[in-house]
Symmetry: C2
Subunit: 413 residues, 2 copies
């Protein structure tokens, strides 16, 4: 057992796991629209210029810019209308000195033209001649060939999560099949002799399983593929059978529950017996969430999450979500700054301990452009405290608390 008996910092716990994380799974090809929210297995390069030609961004007249120099409303530059660009077609012929072609937004510039005069800055003298009342510079009102992306350039880097605009970029460069990292399959097991399912009526001493459902949602929203293995009693052999099956069928397994010392020990022993290196830490210096077991078993991460629902969800966010979203931890073990995008004024004094990170469930409000975070009071065993919250405020490792009025960093739900 490689177990460390002292609670680790989040940073060190991540580092301990990172040493044993398996390499990324091989990429799979998905149809373009199916690739939304997945991560690219490989970078995507443009094989041609986008757009493939100089393109007008306005309705007007394609001209040689130098023919418009010095034009004013009082003394327009006159040019002959030599043609009209048909949308989606290559103009036959070019623009010579003293000539212009009618062109609409998105049209292809004729050869010889290097700018477009907006129709608002022209006056039609007759059917064949216009006056330009304001000069244009070369390239003005034009998207140049390859200006969106050039042939050979990287359109999207490997590992990039595909957002709506990235679907647009992939379409633009002609990608219809996208090689993405497959989602991690996550087995979810709840443990506890007191648990019954949501369809059951709890008897005296029994409660319904909450964590399986909250974790299912959390895994799903991080791009993982959750699978529930139901409720298991805190008995070594029973837990072993279910964990073995979950490990076979998934890339990562979450156990939760067993908040008593006895139950935690059973879970830790079962996990540790499954394979190498086994349990890597037993305890994280985070509140709520300290009684967390972290393990890697034959290349598959296994987490023993706390039984209290708020604790399990906080530890999920810190330790599991980064793995599901990106396949690993940020190289330096720190959170990505955008994980905590909001700054809010905390409305109460809160105590912490210097050697611990605290995550406070907060309700947010806004006044005059400033956000305020009201701590939600209540034990971490109450799912209601998470339901009332809009996010989690952090009291960092080195701080012994925050005073009302201080700014805190908030992660949003």
């Amino acid at each position: 057992m490689a177990e460390l008996f002292n609670a680790l910092t989040v940073h060190k716990a991540r580092a301990a796991l990172a040493l044993h994380l398996p390499p990324a799974k091989p990429g799979v090809k998905l149809a373009l629209l199916e690739s939304l929210d997945r991560r690219l297995a490989q970078e995507v390069r443009a094989s041609e210029d986008v757009p493939g030609f100089d393109r007008s961004t306005v309705d007007g007249y394609a001209v040689r810019a130098r023919d418009t120099y010095g034009a004013t409303e009082g003394m327009p530059s006159y040019v002959d209308i030599a043609g009209e660009v048909t949308m989606g077609r290559e103009p036959k012929g070019g623009v010579r000195t003293g000539q212009a072609w009618r062109i609409a937004t998105g049209g292809m510039l004729p050869a010889g033209a290097d700018a477009v005069v907006m129709v608002e800055y022209t006056e039609e003298l007759d059917a064949r001649t216009i006056g330009v009342t304001r000069p244009v510079a070369p390239g003005e009102n034009v998207v140049r060939r390859g200006e969106d992306i050039g042939a050979g350039e990287i359109a999207l880097p490997a590992g990039h999560r595909i957002r709506p605009q990235d679907l647009g970029m992939l379409a633009a460069v002609g990608i219809t099949q996208v090689e993405v990292v497959p989602p991690l399959k996550v087995g979810i097991i709840s443990t506890g002799d007191e648990l019954v399912g949501p369809a059951d009526t709890p008897g005296p001493g029994q409660v319904r399983d909450i964590n399986s459902y909250a974790l299912y949602g959390a895994v799903h929203n991080c791009g993982g593929e959750p699978r529930l293995y139901g409720m298991v009693r805190d008995i070594y052999e029973e837990l072993k059978i279910t964990l073995e099956q979950a490990l076979q069928e998934n890339d990562l397994v979450l156990l939760s529950g067993g908040s008593s010392v006895g139950a935690r020990d059973v879970a830790a022993r079962v996990i540790d017996a499954m394979g190498e290196p086994g349990v890597l830490f037993h305890g994280i210096s985070v509140k709520p969430g300290k009684p967390t077991v972290g393990a890697v078993v034959n290349g598959k991460p296994v987490f023993g999450l706390p039984g209290h629902p708020a604790s399990a969800m906080v530890i999920f966010e810190l330790m599991v979500a980064p793995l599901l979203r990106t396949g690993g931890y940020h190289f330096d073990g720190e959170d990505h700054p955008l994980d905590f995008p909001l700054r809010a004024v905390i409305t109460r004094n809160l105590h912490s301990a210097a050697g611990r990170e605290d995550y406070i469930r907060v309700k947010l409000s806004s006044r005059d452009g400033q956000f305020y975070a009201d701590p939600i009071l209540g034990k971490s065993g109450l799912i209601g405290t998470m339901v009332k919250a809009d996010g989690l405020a952090r009291i960092p490792f080195g701080k012994e608390g925050v005073e009302a009025g201080e700014l805190v960093e908030v992660k949003l739900f």
Copy 2:
């Protein structure tokens, strides 16, 4: 044609549409796990107390608090071990004065007990007696019956979007079928004689359709059900046939493209001929995104979005996303403050016009806990500008610009 010929503010454009929006669709029942990210059609109330009994939050001994008053390490209070709580079972018998029961985290308090002493603050004298070394108050280390949620209380309000923790709450109160608002079906049509599909090789003057794919992703990520109707030429009869079909099969239709004045007029005329009240505005005072047509046709919103990809996506965020996420606009027409959760220092001077909102594509970085927003230069016709961006910074309606160093509000992608 109820068309207003001046560009409307976002606020007024929303108000114009809101007058004609249809009522919410009737709720549909989904299995609990399927309801993630959907909106509740009705409030959910707890039909029983959760938990259904007083529950220990620690490992220790259930006692009568008053038996521990005055206890110290030097002078412990001695109590008799009268039983042990089995997890998930009702303790048979109760705790009398001078007695304690062994109890693990999550166990049901025996009758008579009103607090739990943590095992750390006890010492075992012999197999039948412990000394308590620190007093507990009534209710200490206990979750009381109904403390998470009480019978008859609202667990989740109508319209609430179901997050992972809300799945947990629904499970806790025994809900296995959830009545949710069905997603809006959204038809997406790209118009433009110059468009080809992503699988095609564009000829001279042709470009691949970008907006269909970017909008598909955007609709999907807002909880809508997107359906692509492909590319249609800017010809009245062709657009009419496709729009008719899309309106029949969807709750909302997005057209995009046709950036030239002629194409925009065709789109507006086709939309307006479809039904009442027809086009409500033609132009929004937003940059990028001004050439936007807003309409309601027989109770179904129809948007003519700009052809430039960045413009189409900005207008989607402002005008369409709120409808898909919540079924309506915020009652006062303003954005929800959490739509712009991040404050960043803008790194360049940017000009705006006082009667217009500007949305600046920005790349974010972080230094010493402060976010910085670098504006991405480039025309709104370039999808690459959206791909490089982490979010949109807003220059509000009344401001004529921002100076480098000012704080701006940022919506994240």
